[in-house]
């Protein structure tokens, strides 16, 4: 339900002129709900940015999400899988 909630909030922010990117843990939910920009991450429930106390990993996920906002070629809805390096 968290994935749907942040997607619906993101849509409202976009309607009011704020660019958004939402992390998504469940691709199947993201495909149905269709947030404007979303990064699907390969982590388990409860661990949306990877591992606790791992700033490097968290930054890598956040950076991948921010790059979706910077990409001006996207067509909504943008749904991209995060690839771990």
């Amino acid at each position: 339900m968290c994935n749907q909630a942040v997607s619906l909030i993101a849509a409202e922010l976009e309607r009011q002129g704020i660019s958004t990117v939402a992390i998504q843990l469940l691709r199947e939910v993201a495909e149905r709900v269709r947030p404007p920009r979303a990064l699907c991450v390969p982590f388990r429930h409860g661990y949306p940015l990877g591992s606790p106390n791992n700033a490097t990993e968290q930054h890598a996920v956040i950076d991948a999400a921010l790059r979706l906002i910077e990409d001006t070629n996207g067509t909504p809805p943008v749904l991209v899988d995060y690839v771990e390096h």
């Binding site: 968290c2 749907q4 909030i9 404007p36 591992s51 968290q58």
Partner: protein
């Protein structure tokens, strides 16, 4: 990647019949300036509150659609995690709130110049909302209006 099949059987059965709220016309705001010049806000649905704030109300049928304002300069160690769901391991976000509310990461991104500045307040929701009508109609628009008033350019949203 997580899957709906990860959940316990009762939850799986509920989700199998659940009608997800599809965003039919997807709204779109392109960024107008470099991130290094943008003001960013965080929105987490992990149910974090400040110790003195009123907790989310678990008794509301369909979920509590309200939100709490969290100052962006908060000490993350003081955040209280109150997410009501028993469908995931809470250990990670209790150990490190940044995992679902990356407040410290945002400060680091400002210091590195990757983003311009953080907004003075972030927003915390309880994401366990099965009936999102009031969220869509009332509280999400109210949340967006707050961030528009703050001149926020971009937002990162993190579920749990």
């Amino acid at each position: 990647m997580a899957s709906l099949n990860d959940f316990a059987l009762p939850t799986r059965l509920f989700l199998k019949a659940y009608r997800w709220r599809r965003i039919e016309t997807v709204p779109w705001t392109p960024t107008r300036k470099p991130l290094a010049a943008c003001r960013i806000a965080l929105i987490s649905s992990a149910g974090f509150v400040l110790p003195a704030q009123i907790r989310f109300d678990d008794s509301i049928r369909g979920g509590d659609c309200s939100f709490r304002e969290i100052p962006s300069d908060v000490n993350t160690a003081t955040l209280v995690e109150t997410h009501r769901s028993e469908s995931f391991d809470h250990g990670g976000i209790r150990q490190d709130p940044n995992l679902a509310f990356p407040i410290d990461r945002m400060h680091e991104l400002v210091r590195s110049g990757r983003i311009g500045c953080v907004n003075r307040r972030y927003l915390s929701f309880m994401g366990s909302i099965t009936a999102p009508g009031r969220l869509v109609r009332d509280t999400a628009p109210a949340a967006a209006r707050l961030l528009v008033e703050d001149a926020v350019d971009v937002a990162l949203l993190v579920p749990v």
